[in-house]
């Protein structure tokens, strides 16, 4: 086992700059979602409803299991690449989604926690503000730690697209996804 610190493959400085610029941009705060493109097919970053909040996982002994928790909302975010989603299903049959956890309303989250969520300086979850009156007042995080493989047919025929990210929202998701997978090695911190 190596004892040296592994540097990030990605340009960490630029990635950090990008995330911070986007988060602090008024455009991002006011334009997180795109409300004009709902007739498009499923894309990376879309919020979908699947009517199941059960998450398939391998448990501590590698056994196929179902993870459940009351804050698993039944809403999911597509993180699979749009290119793969668009390709013929005979060539690319599967894609990935991650669950949206409903953290509750302002009454259930203190100001420090809410500020931290909105700073996007945490790497394992992605903060998602309420996208419609249906979930008004609630704060969500997409959990990068629990990706689920889904058949693409379910995306097109079963899933209901609830919201689409704007360009800025997608850019932030993209940056945070890269950071989650390729961030600096913190084993020796």
């Amino acid at each position: 086992m190596t004892t040296e610190r592994w540097p990030p493959v990605y340009d960490a400085k630029e990635l950090a700059t990008t995330i911070n610029k986007l988060v602090d941009s008024n455009q991002l705060k006011s334009h997180f979602f795109d409300y004009h493109s709902h007739d498009l097919g499923p894309c990376q970053g879309d919020i979908i409803w699947l009517a199941t909040n059960q998450i398939p996982v391998l448990d501590e002994i590698g056994q196929p299991s179902i993870y459940e928790d009351d804050f698993c909302s039944g809403y999911w975010m597509i993180v699979g690449n749009t290119c793969d989603i668009a390709r013929n299903i005979n060539n690319v049959e599967w894609t990935q989604i991650i669950p949206l956890l409903d953290l509750g309303t302002d009454n259930e989250i203190n100001n420090n926690e809410l500020a931290a969520l909105m700073r996007y300086r945490h790497s394992r979850r992605f903060y998602v503000p309420a996208w419609s009156n249906e979930v008004s007042g609630h704060h969500f995080v997409a959990d990068f730690l629990k990706p689920v493989t889904i058949h693409k047919t379910a995306l097109f025929e079963v899933a209901e697209i609830k919201a689409k990210l704007s360009y800025y929202g997608w850019m932030l998701l993209h940056s945070c996804l890269v950071r989650f997978l390729a961030r600096d090695d913190g084993r020796f911190d």
Binding site: E14, T18, Q63, Y67, A116, H122, M171
Partner: protein, 116 residues
């Protein structure tokens, strides 16, 4: 109106207003998709993952051509410079604790069929 890009020839009529569309490129079926960037109707021309060309529907011109990595880097051109801190360990801990606090009735049930 026809749009040309490399070996591809596009007629704007081949692009539907919604959904996915297949078309032929030298007899080979390709797939195109659309999404809106910066308020302009665009499409990603299929090719190879990691490389994307964007077609501006209003002008029929290729307006952007770069890899997703380059896309992230170039995004910095769109917004103002602020700070450089990518990850805060304090925020990580705050969010981890928030998740743990808001977790209710966490349970993991094995599927009936066990691995042999």
């Amino acid at each position: 109106m026809k749009v040309f890009f490399g070996d591809y020839e596009f007629g704007l009529d081949v692009f539907p207003q919604t959904g996915l569309k297949e078309y032929k490129n030298k007899g080979k079926t390709e797939v195109q998709f659309r999404r809106s960037l910066t308020g302009t109707d665009v499409t990603s021309v299929p090719g190879y993952c990691g490389y994307t060309e964007i077609l501006d529907f209003s002008t029929g011109q290729i307006i952007v051509a770069f890899s997703p990595g380059e896309l992230v880097r170039r995004s910095s051109q769109f917004v103002q410079d602020v700070s450089m801190l990518p990850i805060s360990e304090e925020d990580e801990e705050l969010i981890d604790n928030l998740i743990a606090r808001r977790s209710k009735n966490r349970r993991i049930q094995p599927l009936k069929r066990r691995l042999k």
